[in-house]
């Protein structure tokens, strides 16, 4: 962190008055990018310099030069015995983490790559961006999920459910924090949804919304519709084929299914958020509250002036992890809407897209999709970092 700042320092040296803000922004950006590379370069350089530096003999042989060569070697080895400790993890990661990253990069540029073809050696139509183009255009010719649809679904679900559940968690934590009796009991019950299996509970939620029976003979419309019926709202086919939706171009916005998914995500996301926020609140120094009490501050004032600022790091942490998790959701959708993720994959998510194309045998498209998911997550991380950084600097 410190180093980065030092490297980006030159920005401040650029005379600020000669340019307008717009131009300045780009100069800033350029310097920043350069700074980033300089940073990395220095790090790599330092590493290699360190690697090839002739070490003074004392480093290896603290006890003097009279040791035999074998002994010296053994001691040298011994000083590196840390590698032995990390070896299992390293080997596993090499096979299951590092290699796949490389393979995904290569595979996504092999156009129309099908790993199954040619007796498992795979076949592809030359190198290029063909996979990406086809995936983005939805022109895969396989009738599988549509990438843009999946992306929109994922973004909508994530950016609606995460802030909502964080807000709700905040309210509940504040309420929990303000009571004295049976706090533990509430806390425990509220934590229960955390332990559930997304698929299993998804199925339970689906029964709340499911209409059973035929159009002419409805057996039950589900609890939610019954409750809505008390307010004079006609039953809605929330999760079925007749689920209401809007159409924008060739895309479907299955809003009723969105609502179901969002309710589920809020329910399942709350416990973790409550736990984090509540324990953060508990660890706030009581002196602040005492001081506020002495001054007769109202609860709202205490909340907004003391509690909220103190737990800001936790809130931003929850938003970041929530968004990251949201971008990768899949099992809950399968639990709610089945393996085909709604009708014609209209509730598909990014991860669902990958598995869909693995099952379709279209390895190249799956790779390209996974790489794009990676890029999108990186962009969101980057924006997140920007926003959180700003917030911390301005406070």
């Amino acid at each position: 962190m410190e180093e980065k700042k030092a490297n980006t320092d030159p920005i401040s040296e650029t005379p600020p008055k000669e340019h307008n803000r717009f131009v300045r922004y780009f100069i800033n950006l350029g310097a920043r990018i350069k700074g980033w590379f300089v940073d990395k370069y220095t790090a790599v350089k330092d590493f290699f310099v360190e690697l090839f530096r002739k070490r003074p003999k004392e480093e290896f042989e603290p006890e003097g030069p009279q040791l035999s060569r074998g002994e010296r070697f053994r001691r040298g080895l011994k000083s590196q015995s840390g590698w032995l400790f990390v070896a299992p993890a390293l080997i596993l990661m090499a096979v299951f983490t590092f290699y796949p990253i490389i393979a995904a990069f290569i595979g996504s540029f092999q156009q129309d790559y099908i790993a199954a073809a040619n007796q498992g050696h795979g076949s592809f139509n030359g190198w290029g961006f063909g996979n990406f183009v086809r995936v983005l255009k939805g022109d895969t010719g396989t009738g599988g999920a549509d990438f843009v649809q999946c992306l929109v679904n994922t973004l909508v679900l994530t950016f609606v459910s995460v802030p909502l559940s964080t807000l709700l968690a905040l309210l509940i934590s504040v309420a929990l924090n303000s009571i004295k009796k049976v706090q533990k009991a509430y806390q425990t019950i509220l934590f229960l949804p955390y332990l559930t299996n997304a698929l299993a509970m998804g199925a339970v939620f689906a029964t709340f919304f499911k209409i059973i029976g035929t159009a002419s003979n409805t057996e039950t419309v589900g609890i939610v519709n019954i409750v809505l019926g008390w307010f004079g709202i006609d039953p809605i086919d929330w999760v079925g084929l007749n689920s209401p939706h809007w159409e924008i171009g060739s895309m479907r916005i299955p809003w009723a299914k969105y609502i179901v998914a969002i309710i589920y995500e809020i329910w399942s996301g709350l416990p973790f958020k409550i736990l984090i926020l509540f324990s953060a609140m508990q660890s706030i120094n009581k002196q602040y509250y005492d001081a506020a009490k002495v001054d007769g501050a109202s609860r709202w004032t205490v909340l907004w002036k003391i509690t909220a600022p103190m737990i800001m790091p936790q809130i931003s942490y929850l938003l970041v992890t929530g968004i990251m998790g949201g971008m990768k959701q899949y099992s809950a959708i399968v639990g709610l809407f089945g393996v085909t993720m709604g009708q014609d994959y209209d509730m598909g998510t990014m991860v669902g897209y990958l598995y869909n194309y693995i099952e379709l045998g279209q390895t190249g498209y799956a790779f390209a999709g996974s790489l794009m998911l990676f890029v999108i997550i990186m962009i969101i991380t980057w924006i997140n970092n920007k926003v959180t950084k700003k917030r911390t600097t301005y406070r």
Binding site: G82, V86, L92, I172, A200
Partner: protein, 338 residues
């Protein structure tokens, strides 16, 4: 650390500012106090109501799941659902348990699936723990060339969504002939960078002087790790263990991809449809079904599904009841799910 410090300063400043504004108050103290008290009571009541509503909503799906699992399908489908079952039909569980399997087919019975899940859960948790502990120890305490680069590299992979790995890993394990085995469910998930990172930080907090003292006592690295560090970080380790086990219990995607039914896990089992299948033998007579031909043997029944869901979810709830402290602490510390 410095961040936190800064924050504290900031809020102190805020408190100070607000101090001034709140300065001029205080007349008719007694009346105000009384009013204040009433307001407090009302607020308290509201808070309790709010919390109770939330708690009820949080618990409702569980209640519904358990109650539905013992209802008859007819009752479940009544146009106005009953909140408490008229008749308890425990046979649902028997039927789900006996969604029978033929002798040579590899579709799995509940018993087989449960064994799979337990074996994989326990082994992957324990082996994973060993790997995590020794790696974290080396990264925290030992000196070797390239340690920092390695650590940075490991942390960098945390940025990449695991789904990116799935496709290649799937091909890798298949080429290595590992399909339809427990190994394939365990091996790829032994290393968890996040837990390594967490534990490393935990280890780092243990004062270095302890290490020096141990060295003087002639304790080896391994001895120090086992005799000193592990006991000191036991709570974190227990939390990691529990969370990993829960994670394995809930795994769905990978087993579905790499293994056939008899090697899959409990979550895969629960996604199947459960129908009113004719049971050749049962305690209630031969060729027994729950509802005769009313629902046929091709229509998945929700009550049976709920019974299956209960069988999968309840063990976790039991685990929670016994290890509430560790699970909650682990979650608040590690902040990951499984």
């Amino acid at each position: 650390m410095p961040k936190l410090f800064k924050k504290k300063n900031a809020s102190e400043a805020v408190v100070g500012k607000w101090d001034l504004s709140a300065g001029d108050e205080g007349f008719d103290a007694e009346k105000a106090q009384k009013r204040e008290k009433i307001r407090h009571v009302i607020k308290d009541i509201l808070v309790y109501i709010f919390l109770t509503v939330c708690a009820v909503l949080a618990f409702l799906p569980f209640y519904w799941m358990i109650m539905s699992s013992v209802k008859t399908e007819m009752e479940f489908r009544e146009s106005v659902p009953t909140f408490f079952p008229h008749t308890f039909q425990w046979k649902n569980y028997w039927m789900v348990f006996h969604q029978a399997t033929s002798a040579t087919s590899s579709s799995a019975s509940f018993g087989q699936i449960l064994i799979n899940t337990l074996v994989v859960g326990i082994l992957s948790t324990l082996l994973g723990l060993v790997v995590i502990v020794i790696t974290a120890y080396a990264l925290a305490r030992m000196e070797f060339k390239g340690k920092n680069i390695l650590f940075a590299l490991m942390l960098a992979t945390m940025m990449i969504p695991g789904e990116l790995f799935t496709i290649s890993n799937y091909i890798t394990v298949a080429k290595a002939q590992m399909n339809n085995s427990y190994t394939v469910l365990i091996l790829p998930f032994l290393v968890s960078v996040y837990y390594i990172y967490l534990l490393r930080n935990n280890f780092m907090q243990i004062p270095n002087s302890l290490y020096q003292a141990a060295k003087v006592d002639g304790l080896s690295d391994m001895g120090y790790l086992i005799k000193v560090m592990i006991p000191l970080t036991a709570p974190t380790l227990i939390s990691i263990t529990l969370l990993r086990f829960i994670g394995t219990w809930n795994s769905y995607i990978w087993p579905r991809l790499v293994n056939t039914q008899s090697w899959q896990m409990i979550t895969n089992w629960v996604t199947g449809g459960f129908v009113d299948r004719i049971q050749p033998t049962s305690p209630w007579g031969d060729n027994w079904t729950l509802y005769g031909s009313q629902y046929g043997s091709s229509q998945p029944l929700d009550t049976l599904k709920m019974a299956a869901v209960c069988m999968v979810s309840l063990p976790l709830l039991v685990l929670f009841i016994f290890c509430r402290k560790y699970i909650m602490r682990g979650v608040s510390k590690s902040g990951t799910k499984g």
